[in-house]
Homo-oligomer: 320 residues x 2
């Protein structure tokens, strides 16, 4: 551990706030935490690598946000309340300016969810960011992938395909990840790619309602496939019902937007199953959270994800 | 997430055993754990990068062992009992042979301590391994860095400087990290570098006895400096008392071995403080664990680490 590393850690530690259940934060061999009685710990770990999970020129503040967002999204998909976590940061060089900007994005999201950084490590190397995030959920109330029942509705939050549409635009040279887009629709897509919103409040609200849940990180058909496989059921999706944003439809066209919605990843919406009897409760939750939830299909007997649409061929072939 | 990544995760998951307190292991958005009532969670995170933290030609089984060892060592320094953790693995390519050998070393140590892998992530990239490890310690009994009292003895476990001596031998071309050494002393040093033993049982035994503890990962004077700084005291070390192995003395000479013992890192022994009244209890613990503990100095008023020896100049200048 070089002195530069000490300085780096100190710079990050200065941004980490306290919480009553943090007995000891960053600065010892380990942090000490007081977990809630009667709760389970939910633990997830996700890594983002430059050039693989985000374009290399992505701004450090956006990298910071997304690094945490993908992990909080996993907690949301379990119905867990975010609590604490660690960050392993590999950096080519320790530039204070980069670190501060990264921390701006990272802690903006952390603070919004009362999530606290309680440890980590910084090393010299190609840019790579690994978070292990912990949340807490009352015993027996976690949203798992294996609880979907035949007859359940299949739901998704928000709109799907926006991040994939933005990536297409970036790959085609029509969108920059460093500068705001002049066009409002392009800018919305860009924000959806760079600053995804983990659906933490929705996940918590779905305790006792959803029978299974997953976050849409690899693409709807792929992620729904995990629910189907773990629950021992099949999922029937009506491609026409899968919600696309008007921005995506305007910018890349209706057909392409629909394809992105079915197979594109990185949206971090929740896909979940719930009995039809819960439709009214879900409508109330959606209204309370100002977040649309859309019923896109039904859980049936069988295996795999079935989406009888020409548009869904690719997803179908891969994941059912 | 590519299909190759699924296969890779499956290969690692197959090696992960269960535990009664794992409600849900690898395979959902997050794992679910049931923490012990009346205990604190101890959480630490350490990353090893190829070419920085170990020679690039290091065997995958040794990398696996050390990746976990450095984290369990942090838990040991808190007096925590290892429980679970996550692994973020960045690999240039997903070769089954490499993964299996890595898992051999990693799970050999994990199983020995009943520590369970409950999540993680694999990505394509330069070889890098990040573990976040959780342990549990009864409330109020954790070994922190900030509890050293004036008048306490300063102790270290085992011998120090062996890993640094091995590294010197490797840098000089006298030792290979891939092949056993013909000389028994060299082989002992090699094992100390490649397969450090986290002092988990000692850390647990020190609950209620040690007033402060740290693991020796950066070098004795540096790590003891953390205890001094956090406790608001000074540490006086008698360099002649710091325990070196006869192997290190034989192989690199007495003076060089002593320098390694003071400033060399990577030994993962524990350095701790305890009131003189605990000497008998410590002797009993050492006998029970078949592990030497050596009193090397005293906690005094002031700041910094004082080691009045020509050999300790470097450490003194850096850390006091």
């Amino acid at each position: 551990m070089s002195l530069a590393e000490f300085a780096l850690i100190e710079r990050i530690r200065a941004r980490s706030k306290g919480r009553d259940d943090i007995v000891l934060g960053i600065g010892d061999d380990a942090a000490l935490l007081q977990p809630l009685a009667g709760h389970w710990l939910a633990v997830t770990a996700d890594t983002l690598n430059s050039g693989v999970h985000f374009p290399p020129e992505t701004q450090p503040a956006d990298i910071g946000w997304k690094t945490l967002a993908v992990n909080l999204s996993d907690l949301a998909a379990m119905g867990a309340t975010p609590a604490w976590g660690t960050l392993a940061l590999s950096l080519p060089s320790a530039e204070a300016e980069w670190i501060d900007a990264f921390a701006d994005g990272f802690f903006a999201l952390a603070d919004a969810h009362d999530w606290r950084l309680i440890g980590g490590d910084t090393t010299r190397g190609p840019l790579s960011l690994s978070v292990t995030a912990f949340g807490q959920v009352p015993q027996g109330q976690a949203l798992r992938r294996d609880g979907a029942q035949v007859g359940d509705d299949i739901w998704v939050s928000g709109t799907l395909g926006d991040a994939a549409a933005a990536l297409q635009r970036w790959q085609g040279g029509a969108l920059s990840v460093t500068d705001p887009a002049a066009d409002a629709d392009d800018e919305l897509l860009r924000q959806r790619l760079l600053r995804p919103t983990p659906r933490v409040r929705l996940g918590i609200a779905l305790r006792g309602i959803a029978t299974a849940a997953v976050d849409v990180s690899d693409g709807l058909l792929a992620d729904l496939g995990h629910i189907a496989a773990r629950s021992g059921v099949a999922a029937h999706v009506d491609a026409a019902l899968v919600p696309c944003s008007t921005s995506a439809e305007r910018v890349i066209g209706r057909e392409a937007a629909r394809q992105c919605a079915l197979s594109g990843g990185d949206d971090y919406e929740l896909c979940f199953t719930a009995p039809p009897a819960c439709r009214e409760a879900l409508a109330e939750i959606a209204a309370r959270l100002s977040l649309t939830v859309t019923c896109i299909g039904r859980v049936v007997h069988g295996t795999g994800v079935h989406c009888p649409s020409a548009l869904a061929r690719q997803g179908y072939a891969h994941f059912s």
